[in-house]
Symmetry: C2
Subunit: 400 residues, 2 copies
């Protein structure tokens, strides 16, 4: 380990500490990180000179001047860098623009004609979206220092490789590189549910937890796992797969081609398929409309619709209970935007889950429902990009 390596590492640690817990004075930075006050003074001086952080008088009344000296906090300099985060959905892209401090500057949503398309076309759509997004803040695409991209499917995030995604017409697409080349801005691709976990960890209900699971339900079922404060990705980069775990041997056929996957019971198309099979919904209705019809019929007392919804809920509870048995997490966050899936987040499902976990004389993990709009995914993607941009900025600092 050279001295130079130590210095970059100290810069990284202090910048991250300020980003996560700042603004704060130097003395607190030293206390939180275990780095000596002398080193904190030297390193923060580099960060200040590089324009990555700012000094400001403390605003907190509890942080009154000590021994007559005005207390100075260090905070991230928002204007230092600009990042974008986006989430590719079936026929739309949601985007947010974020400054170096994590403040949301602008957002944008655009529509696409196709769900499944070549990577080059998707890259064009993303470039168009980013151009419109940055224009909202009077900026250009190339003003961005990084772009985080969430996509559903199986993704090796470290290599920006998409093994498979419903949004792409080919397998094994090096989407990270394709986007970086097309945008001329570094692009970081991850599974969308991992980015929801990142959003929960950075801004959301996971902020004070180091071990939790986030489940997302929209047209598919996603999962992000945080273990020891880090996103867990497995050894081939494709761990944390939940929607295609099996809940029934030789069960219902799934879109993935296998049988008995959780998704084949709880995803929107699964509910519609069941209801269709007994003529309870009109086959020509679009899926999202058909799901609403089934759920409102169930609420109005239609027994067939209730049976469809009830089985989906119990299968979901069984899958959740298995996760809790395996991981024993502190917290399970059921995250999503679609009101349609209320039945899966209902108290009765959570109660059913509790009955299916190994019983010990300690409370079951907390289960919280976190409803939010589509931008939460994009904010998670931006937070993911911000981590890389933090590191890049620290490495680029002049040693002068």
């Amino acid at each position: 380990m050279s001295f130079g390596h130590h210095k970059v590492e100290s810069r990284r640690i202090l910048l991250r500490e300020i980003a996560q817990h700042g603004p704060m004075p130097r003395i607190e930075l030293a206390a939180h990180t275990g780095i000596s006050r002398a080193t904190v003074t030297a390193v923060t001086s580099d960060l200040l000179r590089g324009g990555l952080i700012l000094e400001e008088p403390s605003e907190s009344p509890s942080k009154a001047p000590i021994r007559g000296r005005p207390r100075i906090d260090l905070k991230i300099r928002g204007a230092a860098h600009l990042v974008a985060g986006l989430k590719v959905s079936d026929t739309s892209i949601s985007l947010v623009l974020m400054d170096f401090e994590g403040n949301q500057i602008a957002d944008y949503e655009c529509q696409m004609d196709q769900i499944r398309q070549p990577a080059s076309i998707l890259a064009d759509e993303i470039a168009k979206g980013l151009t419109a997004l940055t224009a909202r803040a009077g900026k250009k695409l190339t003003d961005l220092s990084g772009v985080g991209v969430g996509i559903s499917g199986v993704v090796d995030a470290d290599n920006g490789l998409v093994y498979w995604s419903p949004s792409l017409d080919q397998r094994n697409v090096g989407l990270g590189k394709i986007l970086t080349d097309r945008l001329e801005v570094p692009a970081y691709v991850d599974n969308d549910a991992n980015l929801v976990a990142m959003a929960e960890l950075t801004f959301g209900k996971g902020k004070d937890h180091s071990d939790f699971i986030v489940i997302t339900i929209e047209s598919g079922v996603g999962m992000g796992m945080v273990l020891g404060g880090q996103i867990y990705r497995g050894t081939r980069g494709c761990g944390a797969e939940f929607g295609h775990t099996k809940v029934h041997l030789e069960g219902a056929l799934c879109r993935c081609g296998q049988r008995g996957c959780l998704e084949a019971y709880v995803a929107d198309y699964a509910l519609v398929r069941e209801a269709n099979s007994v003529g309870a919904v009109n086959l020509n209705t679009p899926t999202s409309q058909a799901v609403k019809t089934i759920l409102s019929a169930a609420r109005s007392g239609d027994i067939t619709a209730q049976r469809v919804v009830e089985r989906a809920g119990r299968m979901f509870a069984m899958g959740l209970a298995n996760l809790v048995n395996i991981f024993d997490p502190e917290l399970v966050i059921l995250a999503g935007e679609q009101i349609e899936f209320d039945h899966l987040y209902a108290d009765v499902v959570i109660e059913e889950m509790r009955k299916s976990i190994v019983e010990i004389d300690k409370p079951a993990p907390e289960v919280v429902v976190h409803k939010w709009d589509n931008l939460m995914w994009a904010r998670g993607a931006a937070a993911y990009a911000l981590e890389f941009v933090h590191n890049m900025a620290v490495e680029a600092l002049d040693d002068a």
Copy 2:
């Protein structure tokens, strides 16, 4: 962080490095751990003076004297401490005696009358077993520096608390404290499958891996998970539960009182129950004998017996596939001693598992079958105790 804290930490790191990868010379210790040569010299001198390590001339021919000086390796001094490891089975206890270097000195097995008993009786049985074990090496129980105990059930290892075990007649037993008081030697209790994972990590097929899963099958189904080189225990200490994950909604009744658990399909009693239900085995036969009868009937072409065995195998494959989907481990070790469960470790089951995992264009995790005798559990328990004794010994070192 005080200087004293640093010193203990350096001692701990160097002792562990020598234990895991030694014998080795000081220069390699410094290279492996990133600790400076000066600190390595000072700290190893403490460890030598405390009798925890030894110097010996290098025996390796590739490690020839450098520049005329004989090369000196550092190794653990086996005689420094003695530990025992034991595994509580249904009606027996298997024990091993191990020196500070991890060499097995003696082993012993004793029978018990009862499967389920009060903790005080179990503690007496364990004390008797340890007395007989240590006597084999001309030692006494109180010569032990630590005892590792593996027991099946749900265990909070950090607190030595057994939430539930088939070997105990009560729930929530502070077995660690009860044993420590009874034996007058520190006792460390863990779930038995975790200790198999520890054995695989220390001596076995997991030695070169940092992320793997060990599945054990005997009368129940156990799992140990190693993530980042550490046993993963979950946040309440009861994670890594596999046998009671559900493979069928409202499925077969399990001994735990719930329905559809994997164990309720693959454990010995489950096979016997199925075969019994169609009169294929004699109800009065002991379970282990009945399992042999079913398996040999299946092998001889009995279709009913084949159907019983085949479903167990497919349920097991489904459970395994779910674990691989969630964790994406490097390696899955199917570990056990009982030839009866051959059908679950068969190529056809492993093939079935591979067909049920998410398909990406990378090889599926390696699956290996590791058969060994009952002492492997006990050796894992001893390795677990050894970790604590290492730390204890380092903390007890005189600063003189």
